[in-house]
């Protein structure tokens, strides 16, 4: 964890702002949007026009998707024009990766891996839901708090607490949803 100082908050806000308005980033995104729009348009044109059902030609299934494909291409081209006018093609100065940004990226990939592992790997593949949830919560808390626990020399206690929280949360969610509100769980 990073200290809640004004400097850290400002750096984090600055990095977020630069990510949002980067002209080079916008240029790459606009090319992706144009590709999506063209793919949508092609798929819409290839859709069956249901002539054998003698439908009204103005109600073909591909009408609105085709229009949306065109709209996405148009907006993508507007973004290309805007990015180029903001010097997206000019040589960019590579900013060094700060420890805070590296830390943020590592956490992001770790959390993604854990969440996908739980929802696609554990859930619905034979394990009781409460057990899968308990395992996920325990491992996630343990992984995210490990550095702090190590710093405070409380690793065993912290992991034990994570296991208790995970088990309680898993069982409570199962009881509340399945037994009390009669909602089926995976």
């Amino acid at each position: 964890m990073i200290e809640d100082t004004q400097e850290a908050l400002d750096a984090s806000a600055q990095a977020a702002h630069e990510r949002k308005i980067s002209p080079r980033g916008d240029l790459i995104q606009s090319l992706v949007w144009i590709a999506v729009g063209l793919a949508t348009l092609v798929e819409s044109l290839q859709m069956d026009r249901l002539e054998n059902q003698d439908i009204n030609p103005y109600t073909v299934p591909g009408l609105l998707p085709g229009c949306l494909g065109i709209a996405i291409v148009v907006f993508g081209l507007l973004m290309v024009y805007r990015s180029i006018s903001r010097h997206a093609l000019a040589p960019q100065v590579e900013k060094p990766m700060t420890p805070a940004i590296r830390h943020e990226l590592n956490r992001m990939w770790t959390i993604l891996f854990l969440c996908i592992g739980f929802s696609c790997g554990l859930v619905g593949h034979g394990l009781p839901f409460w057990l899968a949830a308990a395992m996920f919560i325990t491992v996630t808390i343990g992984v995210l708090q490990f550095d702090q626990l190590k710093k405070n020399n409380t690793v065993r206690r912290g992991l034990f607490m994570a296991a208790v929280i995970g088990l309680c949360a898993g069982v409570t969610i199962m009881l509340v949803f399945q037994e009390f509100f009669l909602v089926r769980l995976p």
Binding site: M1, E3, D4, L9, S12, A16, R19, K20, I21, G25, W33, T40, M47, D48, Q53, P57, Y58, T59, P61, G62, L63, L64, P65, C67, L68, A71, I72, G76, L78, A100, E104, R107, M108, I111, L112, C115, I116, F118, S119, C120, V123, G124, F129, A133, F136, I137, T140, I141, L144, Q145, I165, A169, I173, V176, F177, F181, V183, R184, L185, P186
Partner: protein
């Protein structure tokens, strides 16, 4: 009018029983807890509670959802004041003055003012909900396919233009939402679109799992990826506001209430715009303009009143037109449909009592937040002390349950994951979710209205532009979009300045 009053009275009486009041208080309590926690939105709260209440009676379920909706937006002011992080996007306008007051040792006073503003704003919105919903529904009965086409397009375009900092990105998200809504069997001939041979895609992408992904999973990733742990300011003073202090800002309350309801009615705009516009309007006319951003009571009152009055405002078009005013209103609408209530112009014909039931439910929600806001402040603040590394994994488990529970399909869980990952990366690049949500909700309406309209006009586009309401909507939509193009905006501004100068020369 007398019939309306009678139905309103019947509605209020029907909810004055132990279980209804308990459900209402419970819903508001959960909403406030969720709202207090930064990163968790009203949309996510209502989506998760929809799955929890799916087996309950419709009126009980909708009561819990409405109370949770109001509670979440009110609860967000707590973290705005004590952490300088808005609990929901709608509370962002409360951060500046609320947090400044907290730093001056007046956190309790700020919470008291926020509570007063929230209570009066919601109550004002409830009155407008009761008055305008039946009238708007009556007008909407004359709408045809052409009008609904433009209403749907207007909602998505307006949302893309106003929400966020980049209108092009907003319109792209609107188009993406509309496109995803086309996946699956289309409504006229049951033809499979964009399914690529997968049977599971025939049912399309369900709204609730998609919203849980966009607002739940994406927020979990955003919150946990942020390495900075923020400190909470201690609250030492009393939260009970002085009546005189609230009464002296009656103009601000009334003005912000009107602005909030109007922004709530406009499709896709949302409560955060209601808060910011009310704040800006209060600052423009305040004799103490320099205090705004530094602990202005006027500013905090305006932000909270505008934000909360937009809630009933957003429910008005959802009930009367079947077009939600905001993302949470969209989920509320989906929940109504799940419970067999069809929002739209026919609601006042088929089940008019339900409209007044919603008025009664929103009133219960209003008094619930007043009760919790004034007398349960310190216990509710304990939730802010729970570490997000503990809370967020639990929230993700709830997101998984929520996505699965609607149709008992793992496919919905996978959709939630994919949309959540997409939403997370898109938000980091400045793309807002509100236009995407509106596109998802209005996609089917837009598709059917376009095709029906073309059948009725035999392929001619003329009725889409010459019918009076269509003309008005088309002009507003096109004008709003064109004004965001800098070259057009500049020419228009120059022309407007010349026009004004011409009249000032004539008068002199």
């Amino acid at each position: 009018m007398l019939d309306g009053l009678q139905m309103l009275g019947t509605s209020y009486l029907s909810f004055l029983n132990f279980w209804s009041l308990s459900y209402g208080l419970g819903g508001a309590f959960i909403g406030i807890l969720v709202g207090c926690m930064p990163g968790l939105s009203a949309t996510l709260c209502i989506a998760l509670l929809t799955t929890l209440t799916i087996k309950m009676a419709p009126n009980d379920a909708i009561l819990i959802l409405i109370c949770a909706y109001v509670g979440t937006l009110y609860g967000g002011s707590r973290s705005a004041i004590l952490l300088n992080i808005p609990g929901t996007a709608a509370n962002a306008a409360s951060c500046a003055d609320g947090y400044a007051l907290a730093l001056q040792g007046q956190a309790g006073r700020a919470i008291g003012i926020a509570t007063s503003g929230a209570f009066t704003g919601t109550l004002f919105g409830v009155i407008c909900l009761a008055m305008f919903t039946p009238s708007l529904a009556e007008i909407a009965l004359s709408f045809g396919a052409f009008e609904f086409f433009w209403l749907a397009l207007f909602g998505v375009a307006m949302s893309g233009s106003i929400v966020g900092e980049d209108p092009i990105k907003g319109w792209l998200m609107g188009c993406l939402g509309l496109l995803i809504a086309q996946i699956g069997q289309e409504g006229l001939y049951a033809y499979n679109r964009f399914t690529f041979g997968w049977d599971e895609m025939s049912g399309g992408i369900s709204l609730i799992p998609a919203l849980i992904g966009a607002f739940g999973f994406a927020e979990v990733l955003t919150t946990l990826a942020d390495p900075i742990e923020r400190k909470i300011i201690e609250m030492r003073d009393s939260v009970l506001p002085r009546f005189r202090e609230v009464a002296q800002y009656w103009r601000t309350v009334f003005r912000s209430g009107v602005i909030g309801v109007v922004t709530g009615i406009l499709p896709g705009i949302g409560e955060d715009s209601g808060a910011w516009m009310s704040y800006a309007a209060a600052k423009a006319v305040s004799p103490e303009r320099e205090k705004f951003g530094k602990g202005s009571i006027d500013g905090l009152m305006a932000a909270e009143t505008g934000d909360m009055s937009a809630i009933p405002g957003g429910i008005i078009p959802a009930l009367a037109l079947g077009i939600p005013g905001s993302a949470p209103a969209a989920v509320l609408m989906a929940a109504m449909i799940i419970h067999g209530i069809q929002p739209g112009p026919m609601l006042m014909i088929k089940t008019p009592q339900f409209v007044y039931d919603v008025v009664a439910m929103t009133t219960i929600a209003t008094f619930s937040i007043l009760l919790f806001g004034l007398f349960m402040v310190r216990p509710l603040l304990l939730v802010l002390r729970v570490k997000r590394t503990v809370l967020m994994p639990i929230i993700f488990v709830l997101c998984t349950v929520g996505a699965f529970a609607i149709s008992s399909r793992l496919f919905d869980v996978y959709c939630m994951i994919i949309i959540g990952i997409g939403a997370f990366f898109l938000r980091r690049r400045g793309y807002e979710m509100a236009p995407f949500v509106l596109g998802l909700v209005l996609g089917e309406l837009l598709d059917k209205s376009l095709r029906r309209g073309l059948v009725l006009s035999d392929g001619s586009l003329e009725p889409f532009f010459v019918r009076p309401i269509c003309t008005a909507l088309a002009l507003v939509t096109l004008f709003t979009m064109l004004m965001y193009i800098p070259a057009v905006n500049e020419r228009f501004t120059q022309g407007w300045q010349s026009f004004k100068a011409m009249f000032s020369r004539k008068s002199s």
